[in-house]
């Protein structure tokens, strides 16, 4: 499967925060979830893709083109939603659309009008009077109305009610069905990604901890629970993150089968969720 987005050794130094040699690929026709704790560098990655901040090193290729050398051509095929939708607040939705639409050759006015109706957004409404969720919906409507091949969504579901979130996720799943479009989706709401993501990239402290297929992660991983007496220097290497409690430990593993072979029935292995992965990778310890 060819990649729609390729990021290699991307680095950015803000002084108090560094993005360190980030690399990952987003294959065509897939959805990738970008997860990580606050301040991990998710938004920075998206801003670097859009050239809103300058990279210090590395390369970003989108549709096989360099994101800087072919900036306008690349961006014409990207739909974006920033974590805070920033438009001229005093304008109506219709006026904002009139500002944005002319920049896209493939603008589909019928689709845009349909999305406005679907999202219950009145075109004559002033943008400032919308709730955060409604503003996000409007930004989504703009991003989805020009046949974009790559859709970059930075926390798009924050502020949305659960009903609309589900509808949106279904819509995003529908978008990639033709297998030509891809979505990069940064979020804290990992349950959203469990529903729709094909790949997960986890970023912590500006570094990619892993970038893998979601099904593989969830199928092979597990949350291991057992007594503290089982923990030794040797057994700790099975775990990616560990929490010791008075009556036992909880740990994350990326190889449940290996843990089962090593510990047998002395431990309980629960199914892992993306939230577990994020929690153990962020807060977990590896020391025994």
């Amino acid at each position: 499967m060819p990649n729609i987005l390729e990021i290699r050794n991307l680095s950015k130094d803000y002084g108090d925060f560094k993005l360190k040699s980030v690399s990952f690929d987003l294959p065509k026709g897939t959805i990738m979830g970008l997860i990580g704790p606050n301040g991990a560098g998710k938004t920075t990655v998206i801003k670097l893709i859009l050239n809103l901040v300058r990279k210090d090193a590395g390369a970003i290729r989108i549709f096989g083109l360099d994101n800087l050398a072919d900036e306008a051509a690349v961006k014409s095929r990207i739909g974006f939603v920033h974590d805070t939708p920033l438009f001229y607040e005093r304008l109506t939705l219709k006026s904002i659309k009139a500002q944005v639409a002319p920049f896209y050759k493939n603008w589909d006015e019928n689709l845009f009008q349909r999305l406005l109706r679907e999202f219950a957004l009145p075109p004559r409404q002033i943008f400032a009077r919308l709730s955060r969720g409604m503003k996000m919906k409007f930004a989504l409507a703009l991003a989805l109305s020009h046949e974009a091949d790559l859709i970059l969504l930075d926390e798009p579901t924050s502020g949305l009610d659960p009903v609309f979130r589900r509808e949106l996720l279904a819509k995003l799943s529908g978008i990639i069905q033709d297998e030509n479009k891809s979505i990069l989706f940064s979020t804290h709401i990992t349950s959203d990604l469990e529903r729709i993501a094909d790949y997960i990239t986890f970023i912590r402290d500006g570094e990619v901890v892993f970038s893998s297929a979601k099904d593989e992660l969830l199928a092979n991983g597990g949350v291991v629970k057992g007594g503290n007496d089982l923990l030794t220097e040797e057994t700790a290497k099975f775990f990616k993150g560990l929490r010791r409690r008075e009556f036992g430990f909880e740990a994350l593993t990326d190889d449940s089968a290996a843990v089962r072979r090593r510990f047998g029935e002395n431990v309980v292995i629960d199914k892992v969720t993306l939230e577990d992965i994020m929690f153990f990778m962020t807060r977990g310890d590896r020391r025994v």
Binding site: L52, E71, K75, Y88, Q99
Partner: protein
């Protein structure tokens, strides 16, 4: 090229009410005949219209922090700089037509001076209009690199701190009558001493007489183009480094 006009249209949609308000204030102020008793009032009014519209556009963009959204559109940073400069040019042109047209209407329709002469006469000549718009163009071309480097507020502050020494030097040279020695008797008129801005008109009048109107205007267009060319080059370099 088409994208530049689309960006100007974006600014028009965002700022049109502010522009209309500015225009209304300018026209209303201009209707008070007493206020039109001198060229200085005319020049201030015109500057208020042109600079007010431009400043309002920049302020509205800054207030709603839309730069990141605009920079995410299918555009290069250089296009954003060029479009802003084009907008400034269109505002100078449009504002110039309005303010000189309105001034002409006033002087033609109302006797503003007992002797029947137009109080704006030094400005209502080729060299007058050219000198006035030339200075405004220079000030805007100088401002834009500051704006694109540091944003609206920091950029404006840096700009005014840069202009301050220039203003002090000009005022000092005027006091020392250096201009008069350099440019001759035209500058020793009462009008120049009363309104320093007209000194530039006097200089332009001398240039026009020496070069002829066609060459004079051609050189003037060349000079303004050079200002804006340099302004765009600097602004593009600065704006390319801006992060949102």
């Amino acid at each position: 090229m088409f994208s530049l006009f689309k960006l100007c249209a974006k600014d028009y949609i965002a700022s049109r009410w502010w522009w209309l308000l500015t225009l209304t204030v300018v026209l209303f102020y201009g209707l008070i005949p007493l206020r039109w008793s001198g060229c200085l009032a005319f020049m201030i009014n015109g500057a208020f219209l042109i600079l007010g519209c431009l400043a309002g556009t920049l302020f509205i963009e800054d207030m709603f922090k839309t730069e990141a959204t605009v920079a995410s559109l299918p555009l290069k940073r250089s296009m954003i700089v060029q479009a802003r400069t084009l907008l400034a040019g269109l505002l100078i042109l449009g504002g110039g037509i309005i303010i000189f047209g309105f001034g002409h209407f006033l002087t033609a329709g109302f006797p503003l001076r007992p002797d029947g002469l137009s109080p704006f006469q030094p400005l209502f000549t080729i060299e007058g209009a050219a000198g006035y718009l030339f200075v405004l163009s220079f000030l805007i071309a100088l401002y834009l690199p500051f704006y694109f480097r540091s944003g609206l507020f920091k950029g404006s502050l840096a700009y005014f701190f840069t202009l301050l020494p220039l203003a002090i030097v000009i005022a000092g040279l005027d006091k020392l009558r250096v201009f008069a020695r350099l440019f001759g008797r035209d500058l020793l008129t009462d009008e120049f001493l009363r309104e320093i801005g007209l000194g530039i008109v006097a200089i332009f009048r001398r240039a026009k007489t020496a070069l002829g109107p066609v060459l004079f205007l051609a050189l003037l267009v060349l000079a303004v183009s050079a200002f804006f060319f340099l302004s765009i080059r600097l602004s593009t370099r600065f704006y390319g480094r801006r992060e949102f």
